[in-house]
């Protein structure tokens, strides 16, 4: 690898040799743009309104204050919200990975009549704007008696067309002779799914899990629609209380935003390798 690059480099003009170093300039600028809004948000969550208006050019507070966080803490059943969010995002994600992988297995590894139709049907559900199904879904949940319950929050979200699509792509990339071999050994579909396909698709499964968990954790409209009592709210839904028409305390609003992204941010920094490596596989065939 090294030798070949050098060989190619030797034939290049000097300016071309500078190029690889030069690319760090736009990348560096981009990275700064990516990160500054978050630093600023964190800063504002500790600032007083007067400070913010007096020194808008400053990234950090002139004087630190905790009133933004106290405002959130005093008005929200905080631990309950976190618990709900963990239950909602966690259980739903686990179910989604299971159901999506089962469905994707059939679409990728079993030949049957109507397979293409099923696949396009799943793909089509990806294209439905969520807002339009809101009223019919609400009425269905009512008839099921699922409003303001965990099952109402979780089950409609327990499969995702995106996950099926993604896992199908991943399963397709596994050489077919592997399950041929297993089949000769007498393994049924479920065993092939569990013992051949799943172990070989860990990165893709992790990706579906991560992307789903992130989406559910951040979901706002769905929990707001399904739940009606404060004890059932999730964190983002609970935090909307601070965005009233007549009150804007930027510190409180951004403290709320910081709190809601903090758990994910911590998880991200602890497991960034998996996040990034996992998602990297999504584009694979």
């Amino acid at each position: 690898m090294t030798t070949s690059t050098e060989a190619v480099g030797a034939r290049r003009r000097p300016i071309a040799r500078l190029l690889p170093g030069l690319r760090w300039l736009p990348i560096g600028v981009g990275a700064v743009i990516a990160v500054v809004p978050f630093l600023w948000m964190l800063g504002v969550s500790f600032r007083s309104e007067n400070d913010l208006f007096a020194h808008p050019e400053s990234l950090l507070p002139q004087a630190w204050t905790l009133h933004g966080y106290l405002g959130v803490w005093e008005q929200l059943p905080f631990l309950r919200l976190v618990l709900n969010t963990v239950v909602f995002a966690g259980v739903t994600t686990a179910l989604t990975v299971l159901l999506d992988s089962l469905c994707a297995y059939a679409l990728a590894r079993i030949r049957f009549r109507g397979r293409t139709l099923c696949f396009y049907l799943v793909l089509a559900t990806l294209m439905v704007p969520f807002q339009v199904t809101l009223i019919p879904v609400f009425i269905e949940l009512f008839h099921l008696g699922w409003l303001n319950t965990y099952q109402g929050l979780i089950i409609p979200r327990a499969t995702s067309a995106f996950g099926i699509f993604l896992l199908r792509q991943a399963f397709l990339s596994i050489p077919p002779d592997l399950d041929e071999a297993a089949r000769i050994d007498g393994a049924g579909h479920f065993r092939i799914y569990r013992q051949v396909i799943l172990p070989l698709s860990k990165p893709a499964l992790a990706t579906v899990a991560l992307l789903n968990f992130m989406a559910l954790w951040n979901d706002l409209l769905w929990p707001l629609i399904v739940t009606s009592t404060p004890e059932m709210r999730t964190l983002p839904a609970g935090l909307t209380l601070f965005g009233g028409t007549h009150v804007t305390d930027h510190a409180v609003l951004l403290a709320g935003a910081t709190i809601s992204l903090l758990p994910l941010a911590i998880a991200f920094f602890l497991a960034q390798r998996y996040f990034v490596a996992g998602v990297a596989t999504t584009g694979l065939k």
């Binding site: 208006f53 109402g152 909307t240 209380l241 028409t245 007549h246």
Partner: protein
């Protein structure tokens, strides 16, 4: 007291669970098989602002004095209520009582879909004291001769001003005439966005521009539901203010209510027209705050905006009697007096208008003094929410961005007339 209640409540829950007669997860007002426990009523409101403690107090007092009815109030953003309530009430899974919107005109929609209960338990004493509630509000909530909601509150807008800025500009008193109002707004503006004379929000806000129009003799929709925007009086009433925004920059363009509020509370704006809910925040932000009536208009009379949120009962509630009892309690003399004192809101009851204790409070007195001059925004105009969103708000947006007043007024009138069904 509170503790006893909590213990009683949890004991009741345990009992219900043991006997297997829990109301079910989705039921907000399950009757329960045994029938001996207190009736449970749920209420949805969107009061997330500084006035929230006032409403919480009413619920608390009600629960303490009504052993047989227990009310729990859920506060969520108005947006959320707007999205959920229609389907929730349609299916009967919603709350027994709700404030569907901060916009009183929204009630029309619920009346049309038969989602709200006509209030019949009216009269004196512990009934809903319709005769003691401001007549304009009762009229607003009456459709086809039936009352469908009571006012959850009633506010007027006053002129908030920053005393320090007035002193620095050499102005000794708040404006009392339209001419002074205009002159002061200009005088208090410093170029380059350093200081704004009068902040004017035009979207996601309590309405400010209609007041300016009314002061100058203009209007938005006339009594026959036709647009009045293109009339000469309307254009004349808007012209000076639009010029001041466009040329003198007395206010940034396109502000939301929250943005205008934060400019004033940060000491970047000298005047703002706003309701009583804003006062506590401005005071705690350290503003040297003055509150004055809206200046007198061209005809020598002051005009301001009246604002009220409706409180209505679901047509499908299992407890229409108890729910009306709650509304009666909410609007009762004692509770409304307490509410005004807590929040600084003017009173919605005529029999409290001259209450000495309320009069002694300067903030309440200022807002109360303007009740006779208050007008509602687009009262009883068909499709009022769309007239606002598709007609009036874009119209103000266009003209404050330098578009031609007459052309935009004609265009907005066309939109509004097609919505209201005005034929002329």
């Amino acid at each position: 007291m509170k503790k006893t209640l909590a213990v009683a409540a949890s004991a009741a829950t345990v009992l219900a669970a043991l006997t297997g007669c829990s109301a079910g997860a989705g039921g907000s007002s399950g009757p329960g098989g045994s029938g001996s426990g207190p009736v449970k009523l749920t209420v949805w409101t969107g009061f997330t602002g500084g006035d929230r403690p006032g409403y919480d107090q009413i619920v608390k007092d009600f629960n303490a004095s009504h052993k047989n009815i227990q009310v729990s109030m859920t506060v969520q953003p108005w947006d959320t209520i707007t999205q959920k309530l229609p389907s929730a009430w349609l299916t009967g899974s919603g709350p027994d009582i709700a404030a569907p919107s901060s916009d009183p005109n929204v009630i029309a929609q619920y009346v049309k879909t038969n989602s709200v209960l006509p209030l019949t338990d009216t009269g004196s004493g512990s009934k809903i004291n319709v005769d003691q509630i401001a007549p304009a509000l009762i009229k607003e909530y009456t459709y086809n001769g039936k009352l469908y909601a009571v006012p959850a509150n009633y506010a007027t807008l006053s002129l908030y001003y920053n005393k320090k800025m007035f002193a620095a500009a050499g102005i000794s008193a708040p404006p009392s005439t339209l001419a002074e109002f205009e002159a002061d707004a200009k005088k208090l503006t410093k170029p380059g966005g350093k200081q704004y004379g009068l902040v004017l929000a035009d979207n996601q806000t309590i309405q400010m521009w209609p007041i300016l129009q009314w002061l100058g003799g203009g209007d938005i929709v006339s009594s026959n539901n036709c647009s009045a925007l293109a009339s000469p009086q309307s254009q004349a009433s808007l012209k000076p203010w639009v010029d001041m925004v466009v040329k003198d920059k007395i206010s940034p363009v396109g502000l939301t209510g929250a943005q205008a509020d934060s400019l004033f509370s940060a000491g970047k704006a000298a005047m703002e027209m706003n309701g009583p809910w804003a006062a506590p925040g401005y005071k705690s932000a350290g503003i040297d705050l003055g509150i004055a009536p809206i200046p007198a208009g061209a005809d020598g009379h002051s005009v301001t905006l009246g604002s009220t949120a409706p409180l209505a009962i679901s047509a499908k509630t299992k407890y229409p009697q108890q729910a009306q009892e709650f509304l009666a309690y909410w609007t009762s003399k004692t509770e409304q007096k307490k509410f005004s004192l807590t929040t600084g809101f003017p009173t919605l009851r005529t029999d409290l208008a001259s209450d000495p204790q309320l009069k002694a409070n300067e903030t309440i007195a200022t807002f109360t003094a303007q009740v006779p001059d208050a007008r509602l925004y687009l009262p009883k105009v068909p499709q009022a929410t769309q007239v606002d969103a598709n007609g009036y708000v874009p119209f103000i947006g266009q003209i404050t961005r330098g578009q031609s007043l007459s052309a935009q007024a004609a265009a907005a009138s066309k939109t509004i007339n097609s919505l209201t069904g005005c034929s002329s």
